[in-house]
């Protein structure tokens, strides 16, 4: 049953994506850990973490594409789910610091000692267990998305209105997480992590392990997403995207479909955030900023909305560009990003991959035209 589901979505494009990911999962550890440092094929730990960061963003983009590209929900608040997953992981890593903090308190993280708190708030309980934190990485973004989506979709908030209230949601969370008395480290967020699952978080082996975990998560999410899209559910989603009311008159509860995709997507974003935090070593409220969410949207748009591979490609390309620009020409980065937004919407509405797919789709169509019935030529 499950295998059939996974196989259903696997076409040639999926094969390419999964092969590339598999190669990354093998080659990167080898060239980092086994190839000597003076070889041209050696990858530094810094590069591995950078690649890992890109792939986390790719997973966020994949999640966003699932709702935007296939379900027509333009979320301007997806970074909120990413950040919530990140915070859940960050809380676990904070608990792992134990007495090694600046204040040496075995239970309380430094910022709580600094605030003169005497005991751990209830919502921090349980995060010392990895499995609990891992559950929360899925459950917290998922629950928020479910509650938000339940109300929003039921009352048929759509289009621009939905986008604006998702933005309001992440903005409210941004303000909330900035507050010190929320108990999430306020402005500074959570940082100074020491170890994950007993391994030193700075050690090359751990870094490579995190990278491989990210690749696996991305590959798994890709397979889930393409499995869904290939199923009848995926076809209903696309139908909802284009003509929602018509789908309702066929007897489908479109709200449930949107809620399913939306919640699943939020969980994926949460996983991306959880993998991101140990690799960059910090999570702070700026991840909630509306700008982060909109930036994720442009990754998807660049690669091509409605193509899963495009979302991954877009995220990696744009972030590579960002790393390059902010290093070499920091003044120009915002011009470049702004220009990218305008250029993509004006000239590349289907993104890089969409462009190719569009051209390919056109060829067999033109061939089939002469075979059509006479009714073809008539009509409009």
């Amino acid at each position: 049953m499950l295998t059939r589901f996974f196989l259903m979505g696997l076409d040639r494009k999926a094969g390419v994506v999964l092969t590339i990911l598999a190669l990354l999962a093998v080659l990167v550890p080898v060239s980092t850990l086994l190839v000597p440092a003076d070889s041209p094929f050696h990858l530094s730990i810094f590069t591995v973490s950078l690649l890992g960061k890109y792939l986390c963003f790719a997973l966020l983009a994949l999640a966003l594409d699932l709702v935007w590209g296939y379900c027509g929900i333009l979320s301007l608040g997806h970074a909120a789910f990413f950040a919530l997953g990140g915070y859940a992981m960050g809380m676990h890593l904070m608990r792992q610091i134990g007495p090694r903090g600046v204040y040496g308190n075995p239970v309380l993280p430094d910022f709580m000692v600094f605030l003169n708190w005497t005991e751990l708030p209830w919502y921090w309980l349980g995060f010392d267990h990895f499995w609990f934190a891992a559950l929360m990485v899925l459950a917290v973004p998922g629950a928020l998305a479910f509650a938000f989506g339940w109300f929003a979709f039921r009352s048929r908030v759509t289009g621009v209105y939905l986008s604006i209230i998702t933005q309001a949601m992440t903005f409210a969370l941004l303000l909330a997480f900035f507050r010190n008395d929320m108990g999430f480290g306020g402005n500074n967020g959570l940082t100074d992590f020491k170890e994950i699952l007993g391994a030193d978080i700075q050690a090359p082996g751990t870094r490579v392990g995190l990278f491989v975990a990210t690749v696996v998560a991305l590959a798994l999410s890709y397979m889930i997403a393409s499995g869904i899209i290939g199923s009848k559910l995926g076809k209903v989603l696309v139908a909802v995207r284009d003509t929602e009311s018509r789908v309702r008159f066929l007897g489908y509860n479109t709200e449930h479909y949107k809620l399913f995709a939306w919640t699943l997507s939020a969980c994926m974003a949460g996983v991306a955030g959880a993998l991101y935090v140990p690799q960059v070593g910090i999570i702070n409220p700026s991840e909630f900023a509306p700008a982060s969410s909109i930036e994720a949207v442009i990754w998807v748009a660049v690669g091509g909305r409605g193509t899963l591979a495009g979302a991954i490609l877009g995220a990696v390309l744009v972030n590579f560009g960002k790393s390059y620009f902010t290093g070499a020409l920091p003044e120009l980065w915002l011009f470049a990003l702004g220009g990218l937004f305008v250029a993509v919407t004006l000239f590349l509405p289907k993104g890089l991959l969409g462009l190719g797919a569009q051209l390919m789709a056109r060829m067999p169509k033109s061939k089939s035209l002469p075979n059509g019935k006479p009714a073809d030529q008539k009509g409009m």
Binding site: T243, F249, Y252, N253, K373, D376, G379
Partner: protein, 248 residues
């Protein structure tokens, strides 16, 4: 008249938009297996009537009962559709990025929950049913075409096909022959008459020759309520009908 035994029972249904009364105490009864043609001038409330039956618009007043018992005014579109009321829109709306086959598969009577559709695998019966509908609607050669690339007439047929795939008890058909050739119009009339044996059908149409070809009871709507009811010849002779509609 009592609501029992009826398939669809509308009593005193009123709807207004910003002071404009689209439906004005409309009452209408459909028996199981009946086919009815509805005519009327623009703004008579034909489309609004379909909207209130299918749950798109909530009436301000009035009763709408399905099969004598189910109150449609309390339900949402999807639930109403699942009761067995199918609708074809005035402007053909099909799922343009999907193939003809996928359009029919989506419409095909089957469990409608997300998890059910996620694990749905098409069975032999369903395949046979889709093949059958493809034949009836003459879309067999175009089963793998993207619906968006069909001509206007083909889209009309595809939508009728989707309606058949839904296998509803009551079909609401809004201007099915708009944009069709005379031959296609005739075929459509024949198709609807075939369907009418097993299902109830309400057809809204302007095309008088089409209505005549259907040869069924006609209801004339004007200004949101029923003006006349009876055979086409009887209503055509009605002076009021001539004044508001036919005479113009």
């Amino acid at each position: 008249m009592s609501a029992e035994d009826t398939l669809l029972y509308l009593d005193g249904v009123s709807v207004s938009f910003d002071g404009f009364r689209a439906l004005n105490s409309l009452s209408l009864v459909m028996m199981p297996g009946e086919m009815r043609a509805i005519i009327g001038p623009n703004g008579a409330g034909k489309t609004t009537m379909m909207d209130v039956i299918t749950g798109k618009t909530r009436p301000d007043h009035g009763t709408i009962l399905f099969e004598g018992a189910t109150d449609l005014t309390k339900l949402r579109e999807a639930s109403i559709a699942n009761l067995g009321i199918g609708r074809k829109f005035q402007r053909p709306t099909v799922f343009e990025p999907h193939t003809v086959w996928d359009n029919l598969e989506l419409a095909l009577k089957a469990p409608r929950g997300p998890l059910k559709t996620l694990t749905y695998a098409i069975g032999r019966d369903d395949k046979a049913r889709i093949e059958e509908i493809l034949d009836v609607t003459r879309l067999s050669p175009k089963r793998d075409r993207i619906a968006g690339s069909l001509s206007h007439g083909e889209k009309q047929w595809l939508e009728i096909g989707m309606l058949l795939a839904q296998d509803p008890k009551l079909l609401l058909v809004d201007e099915p022959v708009a944009g069709m050739t005379d031959a296609e119009t005739e075929q459509t009339a024949q198709l609807l008459c075939d369907i009418a044996g097993k299902h109830s059908v309400i057809v809204v149409e302007h095309d008088m020759s089409f209505v005549r070809a259907l040869g069924v009871k006609v209801t004339v709507l004007a200004e949101g309520s029923v003006l006349a009811e009876g055979s086409l010849d009887a209503v055509s002779a009605n002076q009021q009908v001539i004044d508001v509609y036919l005479g113009r």
